[in-house]
Symmetry: C2
Subunit: 257 residues, 2 copies
């Protein structure tokens, strides 16, 4: 058994958001994420892997895949998004979920405004999962979470979070109406080290270079910021989005300690 | 004036560590870093930029470059390490510095063991600069800081730190001999949120997948770790090196608050 031309075309076409939206599938790639995806009881449409990867799985697990295609390295290379492919990739179903705002707002959650870089979104998801944050509400302008580069950067953490796309003004207004704090990272905010950070609320993070959109700033109920510990004038304008998110999540988590 | 063939070859050759070591020069690329490099009183060997970038600099500043070469976008593309080049790049001298361990050990500093990924090293430098950490002592096995991808990822923060390469066992032994704490991030460490973190000491961070080398573990005087706030078993093994570094630096900084 080998990859048919049709299958190759289909896999490559899933690199495009439009096709993913129409077909309802996305690609996961890499031994670790594919293995964890299978072990975590998710259904797989097509498992494409080297024979040694397949035989390394518990016997009953491959049954979770509708289709298992053993392939050579050269075949993997044809469909991989990576320069050096790993041993396994899979076509999986995009989970159907609708955003239940009242439920999401019962816990600490994340709102992302116009995060453009796939690596940043993936890193933020990885950090969120580490700190036990389950729900990530993205503006419609954020990069698509099923972009292969995002999935790659989550290093498997995508399995442990719910990512929603919605209108942020609407979502944040719902937060405010239910008396939930909206913590926004801005330049003139209160230091996260001394700010009153609660166990529930929305952590709103902005675009990599533009920060939080003008229209969303009035919806912040608590402005916070990460203090800079240097007087140097040059070369230190900002932290990147993933680093800033990690520090903020850590600071919320430690208050629970 | 335009880029000669020789110059083009020279610039491209500086992408190799061997050539950088022999010639003593490296490349900085991007409007922001080149501008800040010039404004921060550093000498530049060759400034290569679009005419509008050059004319946008304060008049007396271009004198800091031994040579100024106005170029077109197509010429920049020939020598750039980026898919889409910015408006400016420069050939600059590798600073000569020798590691003065006793001086470095008077403050909080960083030791990096076998950081391989250029993006991670750049991110760690960016976080270090933000939190006012000046000295970064790398094992000889770390990626070269003058690698264009590292420089790029520092986003200019390279101007505000001193990066040294040395034998880490030797450096850490010097720390221990002078009664300086060596804080090492390991899986079985004490939570950073409750650990006693002092204003001076060495923060030792390990390799992206292997952690701190076996030979260095006995030189850790305080084992620390970032607690994980989830019970999920799958997909959450670790934070990436840049995220972990940011969180640890932030935690040291906040104690000073």
């Amino acid at each position: 058994m080998a990859l048919s031309k049709n299958k190759i075309q289909f896999i490559i076409s899933l690199q495009k958001k439009k096709v993913r939206d129409e077909e309802g599938f996305f690609i996961i790639e890499g031994d670790k994420i594919v293995r964890e995806y299978i072990l975590s009881d998710n259904k797989i449409k097509t498992l494409i892997a080297k024979p040694e990867f397949i035989s390394g799985l518990p016997a009953d697990q491959t049954r979770k895949a509708d289709e298992v295609i053993p392939v050579s390295y050269d075949e993997l290379k044809k469909v991989s998004t990576l320069k050096t492919p790993h041993n396994a990739m899979a076509i999986v179903k995009i989970p159907e979920k609708s955003l239940n705002s009242p439920a999401v707002l019962k816990n600490l959650c994340i709102a992302l405004d116009f995060i453009q870089d796939p690596g940043n979104l993936g890193t933020i998801i990885r950090a969120a999962a580490w700190f036990g944050l389950k729900d990530i509400v993205c503006s419609e302008t954020c990069v698509d979470v099923y972009n292969p580069k995002v999935i790659q950067a989550t290093m498997g953490a995508i399995l442990n979070v719910n990512v929603h796309y919605t209108s942020l003004p609407e979502f944040l207004n719902q937060a405010i109406e239910t008396g939930t704090q909206v913590y926004g990272t801005v330049l003139d905010g209160e230091s996260i080290y001394s700010a009153d950070l609660q166990k529930k609320g929305v952590i709103l993070l902005g675009n990599e270079s533009k920060g939080i959109s003008e229209e969303l700033v009035p919806l912040i109920t608590r402005k916070i910021m990460i203090p800079k510990y240097t007087d140097a004038q040059n070369g230190i304008d900002s932290l990147n989005a993933g680093m800033a998110a990690s520090i903020v999540f850590s600071e919320f988590a430690r208050r629970d300690h």
